[in-house]
Symmetry: C2
Subunit: 257 residues, 2 copies
Amino acid sequence: MKIAITGKGGVGKTTLAGTLARLFAKEGHSVLAIDADPDANLASAIGIGPEVFQTLTPFSKMKELAKERTGAEDGYGTFFRLNPKVDDLPEEFCIEHAGVKLLAMGTIDQGGSGCVCPENTLIKRLMQHLLVERDEVVIMDMEAGIEHLGRGTAESVDALIVVVEPGRRSIQTAHQIKGLAKDIGIERVFLVASKLQNPEDLAFLEAQLPEFSFLGGVGFSEAIKEADMKGISLADGPLEILAQFITIKEALTAKLK
Amino acid sequence: MKIAITGKGGVGKTTLAGTLARLFAKEGHSVLAIDADPDANLASAIGIGPEVFQTLTPFSKMKELAKERTGAEDGYGTFFRLNPKVDDLPEEFCIEHAGVKLLAMGTIDQGGSGCVCPENTLIKRLMQHLLVERDEVVIMDMEAGIEHLGRGTAESVDALIVVVEPGRRSIQTAHQIKGLAKDIGIERVFLVASKLQNPEDLAFLEAQLPEFSFLGGVGFSEAIKEADMKGISLADGPLEILAQFITIKEALTAKLK
């Protein structure tokens, strides 16, 4: 299955993406995690240290390689059609850690150098052509906000998970995402609540977002902030927090069956 | 002066932009606030209710008007050259509230409809040509993350304020912003700390970001979350919180003198 994770900035998308990737891997799935946010660090949420991450070639360089190998200008469309399996991805663009294969789009190298639309087209093509076997899971951590939905980056995913925290703007973003997802043909849009400080927070979110299917919630916790600051994956973190993510993963698996 | 506010998603950019705009207006400045984030709601942080905000024509529609009035394809370049003052902005694109004039870029109308690069070019042109008088203040709330710096949207601002919370990724974003800002020629990059839970948080940020000039900090507070949920501007909120924003505004004014 192909899953994309989205939501307003700062709600915990990357943390959820990284932890889910690790949980699916723990269960024996072959997992490909895609970092499609030029401003995030999915590697750290998976538990990959900066020294290892620096050895990875950003996926945006794939354009040159694809052009070289296919001779075509928009070489990566052709490349992915000819090599549509996860194992076909050139090794230099992947790091493997604890059963998760990571692919990172790369960040913005220089100010004023242009937009990242070509990079988003690259990810879109990859998602379109990637054949996902029964035991494979692809998890994409998307850019904050809604712009990527305008660009249709997530067009070919099986499900979209929107992360939402108890705040007006985060709820507003969730509503917009739902509408935009429908436009590009994604029917399965799920919700994960985050930074819950009390049971009323969850009730508030459920009341504000009745049209969504909730997968579960994650409580506000100093331990999560600490793990983020130390670059530790929550899959290796405190068990009471891990339990919340396991519940979310189980709910997702059940709904996608 | 022209100021742009940026930072990782969810750190409090919009809250700072809206509150600063209101404070400068309270002091007698003529203030133009620009909402350049398709996923934010600067209106609400200024204290403009949704019923009034809905009457505003999104600034992205300016393209058509500019083409009509100038006859040129990239009509807005010409339009802003011919009409370079804040008062020249067509009234339908502006709402005024408590002395703040708001201009909103608009959101993404449809999934898969393309990127918002043309809208960003529009804002870039506006910022380039806008002549700002001595008593005028322009405050732009930028998109989360760093993509807009790749596109050079903030190229012509006098200062960039980066909002940062005590978290690794937020700090990482601040470092990236500093580098990208230098590339596009912005020398004055200031920092505002947010969501501080204790004095150690501020000390941690200062230690991690020694090359920045700090304007001040805002403590973590339930009252801020509540104001956001109710759509109340912090300029009309609790005084002990307002005081923190006043300190930031004073520091900014002093540094820009």
